[in-house]
């Protein structure tokens, strides 16, 4: 029983990072109805910029965080302009493929910046963890979970309490009608992208600081973990992204504990496949397949 709960806690810890990444995905998908495959790689490049500052300039950990997040946002802006803003609105597949070739580009930039395979990444806290009874929690994981919950609250306030959020939801429901209200979908999309990149940068920093290392594979990993978590919870649903992320983390932790590492990823894909086949809208989705799954539904 202790093992079970400890494993669940570990799963929630890693799951909160998945949830953050899925949150960024959801934000962009909700407003654009398009998939940004280079979301993970842009976080990776931001992290490489951070670790470059750490390795060559011996930057302080807080500065590494700033460089990572700022780098991710800058790369996100580049991707948005090139792969989404510049491409015709009705060409969603072109945008996706474009974001994929830019992914290849970002990976090469990262290897030019730092040609090795693995680099150290400064940790967030020197103190290790906290004990609650028989359970052990690493401080980094507690922080990640807290940040994920904080971001969820911030995002909900942003979407439902601000003028920007109103415009964002209007664009995501009908960008044509939003134009008649004097809202500029181009501008809203851009800022949604920037905000999603910011969330991604924060998620990337927390994850890598816990791992204390970064590799170019982080891009692939983040993109597909984020996609899976988003689809698991329900496409375009913000609480769904959180639930999907946490669930993915817990599933992975348990299968790893009971069935071993080889089965871990397999189970995650199997669960998602079954969810898609049996309940295509995702767990918190609408349960029906719609070409334009409605985004940002209330909890």
């Amino acid at each position: 029983m202790i093992d079970f709960i400890q494993t669940t806690l570990d799963g929630l810890s890693i799951g909160s990072a998945y949830a953050l990444i899925a949150l960024g995905f959801t934000l962009v998908f909700g407003v654009m109805r398009r998939i940004n495959l280079s979301y993970g790689p842009s976080i990776m490049l931001g992290a490489f910029a951070g670790t470059w500052a750490f390795v060559t300039l011996e930057a302080q950990p807080w500065l590494v965080a700033v460089v990572t997040i700022a780098g991710t946002v800058a790369v996100g802006m580049y991707v948005e302009r090139l792969c989404f803003w510049a491409i015709r609105k009705d060409a969603a597949i072109a945008s996706m493929v474009s974001s994929f070739v830019i992914w290849m580009q970002l990976e090469e930039v990262a290897t030019i910046l730092l040609p090795g395979r693995t680099y150290p990444y400064p940790e967030l806290f020197k103190f290790g963890g906290i004990d609650i009874g028989p359970y052990f929690l690493r401080m980094e994981h507690v922080t990640t979970l807290a940040v994920a919950m904080f971001m969820l609250v911030v995002l909900r306030l942003l979407l439902y309490r601000t003028r920007f959020g109103l415009a964002l939801r209007a664009v995501s429901e009908s960008s044509e009608a939003a134009v008649y209200m004097g809202i500029s979908p181009v501008r809203i999309t851009f800022w949604a992208f920037v905000f999603a990149s910011f969330i991604g940068g924060v998620a990337g920093y927390l994850l890598l600081a816990a791992d204390q290392q970064v590799t170019p594979y982080f891009g692939l990993w983040a993109t597909f973990k984020g996609l899976i978590a988003m689809m698991l919870g329900g496409l375009g649903s913000i609480p769904g992204a959180i639930v999907g992320g946490l669930l993915l983390g817990v599933i992975e932790a348990h299968t790893q504990w009971y069935l071993g590492n080889a089965v871990k990823d397999l189970t995650a894909y199997l669960v998602l496949f079954l969810v898609l086949v049996l309940r295509p809208g995702g767990l918190l989705g609408q349960g029906i397949v719609e070409r334009h799954a409605q985004a940002f539904r209330r909890i």
């Binding site: 060409a91 090469e108 080889a262 894909y269 199997l270 898609l276 397949v289």
Partner: protein, 297 residues
Amino acid sequence: MSEYAISIASNMGMIAFVALSAYVVLVVGEISFGQQAYFGIGAYVSGMATAMWGWPFGFALVLGSCVAAIAAFAVGALTLRLRGLYFAIATLCFAEMIRLGLNSIHVQVEIDGEPVGPDGAEGFGDIRWMFEHDVTTLEYMFIIYALLGAVLVVLLLVERSNLGAVIRMIGQDPLLARSQGIDVGTCKLLVIVFSGMIAGLGGCLYAHFATYIEPNVFNVMLGVHALAYGLIGGLGTALGPIIGVVLDIGFLEGVRAIQGYRMIAFGGLVAILLIIMPRGILDEVRIHHIKRWLRRQ
């Protein structure tokens, strides 16, 4: 031809199979992130057939592509209700399950005192049909291109037929197709099975060319590349994905001047291409113009 040129040309030919299989799914209006799985299934099954069971090469090709087609049928039937991103991610899940599953498959038999067969993540070596039958790489390249040519001819004939028109209509507007009395589900399933078969055939060829295969060759990167080729070359004709493959592999290997920066150059060029031509170089409209021009000549 130098060995290097032959290996590049053979590679282009084999990757073209995956690109074509991703393309036919795109034409019917869906995005698949999973065509690499059929490629992998074809590679493993045909490799086992020749290396472990001593089957003739031709039978192994048929078996490999048929097993891949059966797998595609299963996936297609399960995901028939799904559209758009749901379909894309479901196919991704399937492909990753296959890849991870191959990581833990250990089926080996002893041949001449050596274990032969898939050995999980260690891969599957000694698929030595080419050496055992004294087939040169040049001859093998001709086999690849003969089969690729056959597949292309079939695809181009289908595209000219009524079935081709029906498939394009489903891709453009499935509701309209349904209102015309077309059985959309069956047509889609047919296309998906055919796409699995093409990719499987490519995989068979790949296994015997490479002689060593491992699960990680068939990762999602291969599938997304295959998708990209179709979109670069154009969605208007089956020649589109071929153009995409030639541009990518030919360009990357051909232009030595950009060594070390080639993905930066290639990524940028393709991104700009997609801004100007969102459905690729040879899209439907351009194909229509070309056909009209040819008819006038």
